[in-house]
């Protein structure tokens, strides 16, 4: 692989292709990722959108995109990508489009669609080796409707539909593992709070063909309960506590880009957010905090064993 053009923060793109003044919430971690993805991919990108927060990026007659946009439905954005990609290929072969009229096809979806009703269409697109980027902003709940529990909601988090003591008894679905089990061209986790890592991953994805996942953790001030100004700090804490591993799957192998040393205790992350406040007030929920810590420890222990 050729060397990355993104060696240091000063190399990060400053083209700012995405217009400002969107309807997203202040401090939206998802929007930060979309901004950078767009800057690296460029204007000849079409976003195929599944129902979610980002659907409100394009509200008639405005759009922050200089390129194209197609809103589909909640369940079938990857199938929309299939239709656009196939039609572009047909037209390139016919000679009715030139190579510089080609488009990078990107599905833009939240975790609600990605881990729920959109999973079938996503899985099938991987089977077909569809040449597309799947950009998921994971804010761990149905954020656009007020943060109800989704397949990506983490253990112990309180949501609008899991308001009980102890929060969600279930566990977060591992979308990255579902993707990599099916041997995509590329898969990576990333987040806006680590912009250099994100830029390199988009760059890698951009230059590959086939199904490519960019799974970004999207700290969500309104859904998680924190001040918008803390969005970047909370994203970094997700990485430093080991809750959100930065990794990529390439050439059939998973590589962890950063093994946090020292790994901060999970409560440093949990305490920053209202959705976990019930784990600390009125008294500490040692059991639940312990479960979350144990799951993170087990994950990293397995990583270390595999690396050894």
């Amino acid at each position: 692989m050729t060397e990355s053009q993104f060696k240091a923060a000063r190399d990060l793109p400053s083209n700012h292709l995405l217009g400002s003044g969107t309807a997203m919430c202040a401090g939206c971690g998802g929007l930060g990722a979309v901004r950078e993805v767009y800057d690296v991919l460029g204007e000849n990108t079409i976003f195929i959108n599944a129902a979610g927060c980002m659907t409100l990026l394009s509200v008639y007659p405005f759009t922050p995109f200089r390129g194209s946009w197609l809103y589909t439905a909640m369940a079938s954005a990857p199938a929309g990508a299939q239709g656009v990609r196939d039609a572009l290929d047909i037209r390139l072969a016919q000679g009715t489009l030139t190579k510089d009229e080609d488009l990078q096809v990107v599905v833009l979806t939240g975790d609600g669609s990605a881990g729920g009703m959109g999973l079938s269409a996503t899985s099938a697109a991987i089977d077909r080796q569809l040449d597309f980027i799947y950009l998921c902003y994971d804010n761990e709940g149905y954020g656009n409707t007020g943060q109800q529990t989704s397949a990506a909601t983490p253990h112990g988090a309180r949501t609008a539909t899991d308001p009980q003591a102890g929060g969600l008894p279930g566990r977060k679905k591992d979308l990255f593992a579902i993707w990599t089990a099916n041997r995509p061209a590329y898969a990576a986790t990333a987040l806006a709070a680590e912009p250099l890592d994100l830029a390199r991953k988009i760059e890698t994805a951009r230059d590959l063909t086939g199904p490519r996942l960019i799974l970004t953790l999207a700290p969500c001030p309104t859904g998680w309960g924190f001040e918008p100004a803390r969005s970047v700090e909370i994203g970094r804490l997700a990485v430093r506590t080991g809750i959100f591993p930065l990794k990529e799957y390439i050439d059939g192998r998973v590589v962890h880009n950063r093994i946090p040393h020292p790994r901060l205790p999970v409560e440093d992350y949990l305490k920053t957010q209202q959705r976990f406040a019930h784990l600390f007030e009125p008294r500490r929920d040692e059991k639940r905090i312990g479960e979350i810590q144990a799951a993170v420890d087990a994950y990293w222990q397995e990583v270390e064993e595999n690396n050894a």
């Binding site: 204007e43 000849n44 079409i46 195929i48 659907t55 409100l56 394009s58 509200v59 008639y60 759009t63 995109f65 200089r66 390129g67 194209s68 946009w69 197609l70 809103y71 589909t72 439905a73 369940a75 079938s76 954005a77 990857p78 199938a79 929309g80 990508a81 299939q82 239709g83 656009v84 196939d86 039609a87 572009l88 290929d89 047909i90 037209r91 016919q94 009715t96 489009l97 510089d100 009229e101 080609d102 488009l103 079938s120 269409a121 899985s123 099938a124 089977d127 077909r128």
Partner: protein, 415 residues
């Protein structure tokens, strides 16, 4: 032009081939599957240049179809029954995208209970989707309807998907003689895909299906879709005039059979209308002035043509091969609203349900219907909608219920 024996499904595949489709997103379902299998063989044998892709559901299939048509390729797809309903969200959606494509629906009754055999509840569930609808009665019509559908769909003032409907089994698996247009004449009738300025391509940014806030913008776009559908009436007239010149076959929006001097008209859609034609001949032989009115185009509804066909008749029987529980026949409601307000509208407008799940409609039933209409004209009283069912069917049903150990049989159906 060659004349050959084809099933309705093969005719649909030939229609796609003659239309020189670029793209076929597909998903199998009985009784449609033969269409996509036929095209896949032609592609494999280099007889057809088309990209075909298997999707994992009809919902995805229709999404891919609409997205591809939005990117400027001639797109074809096909489904049936449960598949049409599974994709229903996207039928409304792609109509709103204002994309020209053709969807074949091979009609089949809906679950529950699950069945493979035909009726029209599937296609009529898509009635208000914004997709146009053509209803075929013969295999010849299937080929021709597809070519006409693309011509209409690709008109700039229309740009809507068209659903071409054919009945499962009675057309899909039935061989009939079909005149196949040759490639050159088909291409003269249907030129290359008509591109649109809003298609997706690099360097020409376009946003499609963006959200709107407020009823003003929403209503505007919805009204536009309605006006586009209405514009299809003239586009259809123009396309079928050209079609007749090139191929010699006429496709009025409403087919009328021995209807001009008829006192009583049957109204039906689809292939079961050929049973009504036979009954009309027999009734005429018996001295009754009966005719048949068969809408070929159901969306847009050609109201003027339908009125012209039915105004002044003494009585009408609408025979619906569908059932809206709690209401009755869907077509009956459409016909009633078209006739309302006409000074010389028929005095008797009767409603019948028949042909559900492939159930036959016998010629003796058409005789009974005609007798009912005559009685209603004479008495001035319109009977309640009738659910066609014979004594022997009820006897068979009772036997099955005995086998199934049904303890208390349901209410008796009128025989």
């Amino acid at each position: 032009m060659t004349r050959t024996l084809l099933t309705g499904n093969a005719a649909a595949a030939w229609g796609a081939r003659l239309a020189r489709i670029d793209y076929l997103p597909a998903f199998p379902i009985t009784p449609q599957t033969e269409i996509i299998e036929t095209v896949s063989r032609w592609i494999a044998d280099d007889e057809m240049r088309c990209r075909m892709v298997m999707l994992e559901s009809e919902h995805s299939m229709l999404t891919a179809a609409g997205a591809a048509a939005s990117t400027g390729v001639r797109t074809f797809t096909a489904t049936s029954s449960q598949g049409l309903l599974y994709g229903m969200e996207m039928l409304y959606t792609i109509a709103g995208w204002r994309v020209p494509l053709v969807l074949i629906n091979v009609s089949r009754g809906l679950s529950a209970p699950i069945t493979l055999e035909p009726d029209h509840n599937d296609i009529l569930a898509a009635r208000d989707s914004g997709c146009l609808q053509f209803h075929c009665a013969t295999c010849q019509e299937v080929v021709d309807a597809i070519l006409i559908a693309y011509r209409v769909a690709e008109q700039p003032q229309v740009r809507l998907p068209v659903i071409v409907n054919l009945d499962g089994f009675s057309l899909s698996f039935t061989r009939e003689p079909v005149s196949l247009p040759d490639d050159e004449t088909a291409a003269r009738f249907l030129p290359a895909f008509r591109h649109d300025a809003g298609e997706f391509r690099g360097g020409r940014p376009a946003s499609k299906a963006v959200a709107v806030i407020g009823g003003g913008a929403y209503s505007y776009f919805r009204y536009e879709t309605h006006l586009a559908a209405m514009a299809a009436i003239d586009a259809y007239g123009e396309a079928t005039r050209d079609f007749e010149q090139l191929f010699g076959r006429r496709y009025p929006s409403i087919e009328c059979y021995r209807n001009d001097d008829a006192e009583i008209s049957f109204v039906m859609i689809g292939s079961f209308a050929t049973k009504a034609k036979e009954a009309v001949d027999r009734l005429r032989d018996a001295g009754h002035k009966v005719g048949l009115v068969r809408p070929f185009m159901l969306r847009p509804l050609p109201e003027a043509d339908l009125r012209a066909a039915l105004d002044g008749k003494a009585g009408i029987a609408v025979i619906d091969q569908n059932l809206a529980p709690g209401r009755g026949g869907i077509l009956h409601g459409e016909v009633t609203s078209v006739l309302y307000g006409l000074k010389t509208r028929p005095a008797a407008l009767l409603s019948y349900i028949g042909g559900l799940g492939g159930r036959d409609i016998g010629v003796e039933e058409f005789f009974q219907i005609a007798a009912d209409v005559r009685a209603a004209i004479a008495s001035g009283a319109t009977p309640a909608p009738r659910l066609l069912y014979t004594q022997s069917e009820l006897t068979d049903m009772r036997k099955m219920q005995a086998v199934a150990h049904v303890e208390a049989a349901g209410e008796e159906l009128a025989s």
